[in-house]
Symmetry: C2
Subunit: 450 residues, 2 copies
């Protein structure tokens, strides 16, 4: 389902990144980690509205990819894994960017981005850097595990969540009694020491992924690749991203990673550019073969009928949770001119991802008791917000800016007629609805199209 409100379809987007970043901080969606200490480059905190948005997205993904399917199971693995994992995966050897250092200003730059290097800060009157030859700089964050100084082990924070889905493959397959084809899915944090974190939460050093590895027979790889490509594109449309802002982009052969035979991105049209929010990859049997080789364990499966023993090939779907949240925010943001010259900023979230589902507003503070009772009842079912301060128009604007789909106003008649005024965010239309049926009324409208 896509949202068809006129305002949302009205031509070009109106949001700049600056405005979006400002709204996110002011309303508590996302803001810099450790802000009171000046922040830390590449790290972000989600506030009260942001965590609900992100949790809604994760729950929708889990529901769609895991719970509603009988051929995908979930796991939750540790961020720190055995160091051999990253040798087998190829990350120790290959997960690096070519970097040059400037001998004068001591700064480091990506060798393929030297046009952005600017002036050398150590050389007055000159713009010339004094670069070293390019060297590879591994992007994994390293730490030390273990108590004894002599027996500590260097370990890495995972740069992607998927590797444990391969190392746990045999255990999970046996424990869950799954047969090929089936998938293993996970949501979790990963870390990369990005040289230049940028574009708000788009490229950060700590981020969350929602990944699924689908294990199938080599003869079915193309069928499943196409299935998951279409399914994942559809997901992003179903959670409310505009059709014209989402597209598939097929990787050229020379773009493919060392493990990949085919790759298609789901790109979103961010204010700064079309950029990837999810990747669908045909990884072949690279991962199971490598982990089999490095561990000395047989990770293959035997076909019950043909008795063929083989390593399944893997179709991967890898969604950036933070990137998709950012796409949801950018897509939802709109500034609208109202009658009378007023403007409103509104986040046109799909109701299923909206952080707050309903705001309960007493028309006067004198009506707080009934409004509070209604709020208490609704809270058991939906995330709600109560607001009694300011005039009603101002309170509507606050909720528009938070993306709340419904405002329920408890007025002087509500006690007697058992009804509240329900105001819908996008159309701004109002309707009197009986309190008795309000949960069903809202539920029907919140789950639309999913």
């Amino acid at each position: 389902m896509t949202q068809d409100s006129d305002s949302k379809q009205a031509g070009e987007r109106s949001v700049s990144m600056d405005k979006l970043v400002a709204l996110c901080a002011r309303r508590g969606f996302v803001f810099p980690s450790s802000e009171i200490y000046g922040g830390i480059n590449g790290f972000w905190d989600y506030g009260p509205l942001g965590v609900e948005l992100k949790n809604n997205l994760k729950a929708l993904w889990w529901q769609r990819v895991v719970r509603e399917r009988d051929d995908v199971v979930g796991v939750d693995s540790s961020i720190i894994a055995h160091p051999r994992t990253w040798e087998a995966s190829g990350h120790v050897d290959h997960f690096s960017d070519p970097m040059v250092d400037c001998r004068a200003c001591k700064k480091r730059f990506r060798a393929d981005q030297l046009d952005d290097a600017g002036r050398c800060s150590s050389r007055e009157g000159s713009s010339e850097h004094d670069f070293t030859e390019p060297r590879n700089f591994n992007l994994m964050l390293q730490t030390q595990i273990g108590a004894s100084e002599d027996a500590t082990t260097a370990a890495h924070l995972r740069p992607e969540t998927c590797q444990s889905l391969f190392t746990d493959f045999k255990r999970v397959r046996e424990a869950s009694r799954q047969k090929i084809p089936f998938g293993i899915a996970q949501i979790g944090k990963a870390f990369r020491n990005e040289i230049t974190p940028r574009n708000f939460t788009f490229r950060s050093r700590e981020f969350e992924q929602a990944e699924m590895e689908f294990f199938c027979h080599p003869s079915e790889r193309e069928k499943w690749f196409e299935y998951w490509r279409a399914e994942r594109l559809q997901f992003h449309r179903d959670i409310g991203l505009r059709e014209s802002h989402v597209r598939n982009r097929t990787h050229d052969e020379d773009e493919l990673a060392h493990y990949a035979r085919a790759a298609v991105d789901v790109d979103y049209r961010f204010p700064f550019d079309w950029q990837e929010i999810e990747g669908v990859h045909d990884r072949g049997d690279w991962d199971l073969s490598r982990h089999g080789e490095f561990s000395g364990k047989d990770l293959g499966v035997t076909d019950e009928v043909t008795k063929e023993h083989y390593n399944p090939v893997v179709i991967e779907t890898s969604m950036g949770v933070d990137r998709t949240c950012l796409a949801l925010l950018a897509d939802a943001y709109h500034e609208e001119s109202l009658e009378g010259g007023e403007t409103r900023t509104v986040l046109h979230f799909h109701p299923a991802v909206a952080p707050v589902k309903a705001a309960v507003l007493p028309l006067s503070k004198k009506l707080a008791e009934g409004a509070r009772r209604l709020e208490g009842d609704l809270r058991r079912h939906f995330n709600c917000f109560y607001d009694e301060s300011g005039n009603i128009g101002r309170r509507y604007r606050r909720q528009d800016e938070a993306g709340t789909p419904f405002c329920l106003t408890w007025d002087f008649d509500s006690q007697e007629d058992g009804r509240v005024t329900v105001r819908e965010r996008d159309s701004m239309e109002q309707e009197r609805v009986p309190v008795e049926g309000i949960v069903a009324y809202l539920r029907e409208r919140l789950e639309v199209g999913l």
Copy 2:
């Protein structure tokens, strides 16, 4: 609500840790991270059943502590924060254990646990170690952030999730329009370089916490401390832990951490001992004062009526997510003798935490079509499992061992009479139930008491 099945109340527990660990691996609840590489000490992966158990627990906590309340909001902050955070919090100076090294065998031991040190592996025929004087060993895991070698920053993986709730206090309070008293809550990963990880997932190096900091006026600290102590104890009973296995334990004054004025644990009676699964702490204004001092920012609030400006005091509730999962598993585990001399292993989970809510079992493989259709319908509402292999008794046993509350058997009459046989896990009683009303039937029984 507590579960009153006879079997569960029948005297002493029957589980040993060995049996529980074996069941957890075999059925895919929890197993060692990187198992194919021999594991990594102190790190664990949750499998398909384990991740559903843990997600259910986290969702119940979030529902109870955040969504059902209008005075607590959630956040989701980064694992890596600005390094000053850990200076202000006291972790750089105080978060360490006194350790001794053995000069001969090069091993390291906690100075207060030398009785467990065993024999020195380097001295044949002798049990004598050659210990150094005790030195403090900081338990935080360290890493390096940043691209340039000259400009890298040492950073820590957070050893607890709560500090960002203090550093984000001002931003969150303003963005969410909350007034004192109110709380900020978070679920997330934390890391400690434990000297000796032990007792399965109880003491690990990577773990998950569910923490809430409740900010109140100093005059109300005792009231709120008592409120949260009782509320958090009740939570653990409500999710199904036996009353006789859960208790409060008040810390003596000499046990209190440097920041704490009072502390009460929620202890669970694990097979290995009574141990803490949650702590409720009166932290005073230590945290806001320290972060205010170290950041130079005023984190205080002004009372709207009295105009008093003050740093709120903090009541903290800190639940170990992995520890509570382990308590749920240990508490649920039971081996029962059945009529006819058979025994069954059953996990008596509260239905709300059970990973799988219902299993759909066709009595014969010929009945797969109808059973699959039923399973597909149910999956939209609950996590389900489909199993058509083995005789029906064996399939019941498998579900007992997974803690599945209901088995729905689709038999030769089902197609005609539109009914299935529902078999309840604890009583093993069976009932014919119309398929048409099955969702409501199950929902009523799954949400009991919550």
